[in-house]
């Protein structure tokens, strides 16, 4: 199979036809005036007049993504400006009756770095030792959902699209339409998700869900640092998984609709923060029964748990407010949200990292 470029050639060609205008005259002067009214970010110095700088040649593609400290720039669920309930942008695909999802089973959290005993068991490196073998992502024992995700990530890293396709659930295959669609994303997937294959996550969080129509679903969250294009990048990725006859399949593409995060809210620079005393608020499509989980704590079904409140909004959406018992302690937290729809054939899931004040 030939490797396709990460871009769609037809669409890319089309977008290149769309001209990008220059600024109106006076744009930079206006900006200079605006900036002059601002306090300097740090130590003020005498202002220097703005001047034009010749832009460098446009790169073939953007620079590698920067290392991200998720305490500052977490990967969020929803763009900041989409949080206002009155302006929801909901996917048309996310319709259909959502099925209630109830939490069942146990939870697994494996922390590589938080376990002092585990760290202590590691033999110290000695001079002259053979170089350590390359780190390889491994799933926790006896956790088929995590094993399925780990295997899928290795397939992506290896460029084995046949195996990656076979590891997808029915919902994802239906959504993609054909293996060619996955093939067309081969490079992006290998560099993106595939980067996990050479990493050892700090945490593997498995959140089992049990859909009412008998489908066995789970969310596997990997938290850690991966090496991507030469940079160490902090990542928090959630992978929906479907278990059929004891075998787990990745359902990353069977999206059930958007999960919009209202609180924690995103700063202008993308950092997610929950203010002191605020409750967690998300917006999901009408009919969904979202499951929420703070860190590795108890999962709650919004609208059923007494610490939650589910209210209908205009535009075919509903607002879920979650006030964990005892509040949210200051510091860094993980929030996992998931819901299923369309007879559990679809599932949306995400995990974000945020700072609570």
């Amino acid at each position: 199979m030939s490797e396709e470029p990460r871009e769609d050639r037809i669409v890319r060609t089309a977008l290149e036809l769309l001209p990008v205008p220059e600024h109106r005259e006076g744009f930079w002067d206006r900006l200079e005036v605006s900036l002059a009214l601002e306090e300097t970010p740090q130590t003020p110095t005498r202002a220097t007049p703005l001047r034009a700088v010749e832009p460098p040649p446009a790169p073939a593609r953007p620079a590698a993504p920067a290392p991200i400290d998720l305490t500052e720039e977490p990967v969020g669920v929803v763009p900041r400006a989409m949080r206002r309930p009155s302006n929801l942008i909901l996917s048309a695909v996310a319709v259909a009756a959502a099925v209630a999802v109830v939490v069942a089973g146990s939870t697994l959290v494996r922390s590589r770095t938080d376990d002092p005993e585990e760290v202590a068991k590691e033999p110290p490196a000695a001079e002259g030792d053979e170089p350590a073998a390359a780190t390889t992502l491994r799933a926790p024992d006896d956790e088929p959902a995590a094993e399925a995700v780990v295997a899928w990530l290795h397939h992506l890293a290896d460029g084995d699209i046949d195996a990656a396709w076979a590891a997808l659930g029915d919902g994802s295959r239906t959504e993609l339409g054909s293996q060619d669609e996955l093939e067309s994303m081969r490079s992006a997937l290998a560099e993106g998700y595939g980067a996990w294959a050479a990493a050892q996550p700090d945490q593997v969080l498995v959140t089992p869900l049990d859909a009412v129509e008998g489908a066995e679903l789970a969310v596997v969250t990997l938290v850690g640092t991966v090496q991507q294009e030469g940079s160490a990048i902090a990542r928090t990725d959630a992978f929906p998984v479907r278990v059929v006859d004891g075998r787990a399949f990745v359902e990353l593409y069977a999206d059930a609709g958007p999960i919009e995060l209202v609180a924690p809210s995103r700063d202008d620079d993308g950092a997610l923060r929950l203010l002191d005393g605020d409750e967690i608020v998300i917006v999901v499509p009408a009919g969904a029964a979202p499951v929420l989980r703070l860190d590795d704590g108890e999962t709650v079904v919004c609208g059923r748990s007494p610490v939650t409140e589910l209210t209908e909004l205009d535009s075919g959406a509903q607002r879920c407010a979650y006030a964990p018992a005892g509040g949210v302690d200051p510091g860094e937290h993980l929030l996992t949200v998931a819901f299923a729809a369309d007879g559990a054939r679809r599932i949306s899931a995400d995990t974000v990292r945020f700072q609570a004040a």
Binding site: P21, L50, A63, A66, D267, D268
Partner: protein, 182 residues
């Protein structure tokens, strides 16, 4: 203090700008401006709105420089701020901003052949038909060359969401564009 040059790395310009050197900040944003214009114009399809949004985005970036993490990618960070400013503008309009009746504005005083203009108009209309989330996703990935992970960082969504939106956006664009761009 020496003036920044076109070869001054972004991180050095950031440090200068944090210290109050507005020329350094200007150099930074002008270095990335063409791509920010690309994002804003394809999102808003209006030259004046593009300018207004970028004014807002650049001022916000200046204010937020203190929170910019050293070693991070300034371009990606500025993309995120610009994207958020575009979404704010769309929210203010409360509806899709692109009117099919508005002609495509040429990038410069040098218009292309009529056929190209026609094709560009088709592209603009096709983009306008997309939901905002799909529009920005396809612009970032197919228009600006970001991979799924990078686009996910900018948009604040999971990479799987990017892939899903991209799949739908491409399918919709292909349907509309058809032979237009071949």
């Amino acid at each position: 203090m020496s003036l920044p040059t076109t070869r001054t790395p972004d991180d050095e310009l950031v440090e200068l700008a944090r210290a109050g050197d507005r020329a350094a900040f200007s150099a930074l944003v002008q270095r990335h401006d063409e791509r920010m214009r690309g994002l804003a114009y394809k999102m808003l399809a209006d030259r004046d709105a593009m300018d207004d949004v970028l004014q807002e985005a650049y001022v916000k970036a200046y204010r937020a420089l203190g929170r910019f993490k050293a070693g991070s990618n300034f371009g990606t960070w500025l993309y995120r701020i610009t994207y958020n400013a575009c979404i704010d503008e769309l929210r203010r309009r409360k509806r899709a901003p692109m009117s099919p009746d508005d002609p495509v504005e040429p990038a410069s005083a040098r218009p292309g052949p009529e056929r190209v203009v026609s094709a560009a108009e088709t592209v603009r209309r096709a983009l306008a038909e997309l939901p905002t989330d799909q529009r920005v996703t396809v612009v970032l990935v197919d228009g600006e060359g970001f991979d799924h992970r990078e686009a996910a960082e900018i948009l604040g969504v999971a990479p799987g969401t990017v892939a899903s939106r991209l799949h739908r956006a491409r399918a919709a664009l292909r349907r509309v564009l058809g032979e237009e761009v071949r």
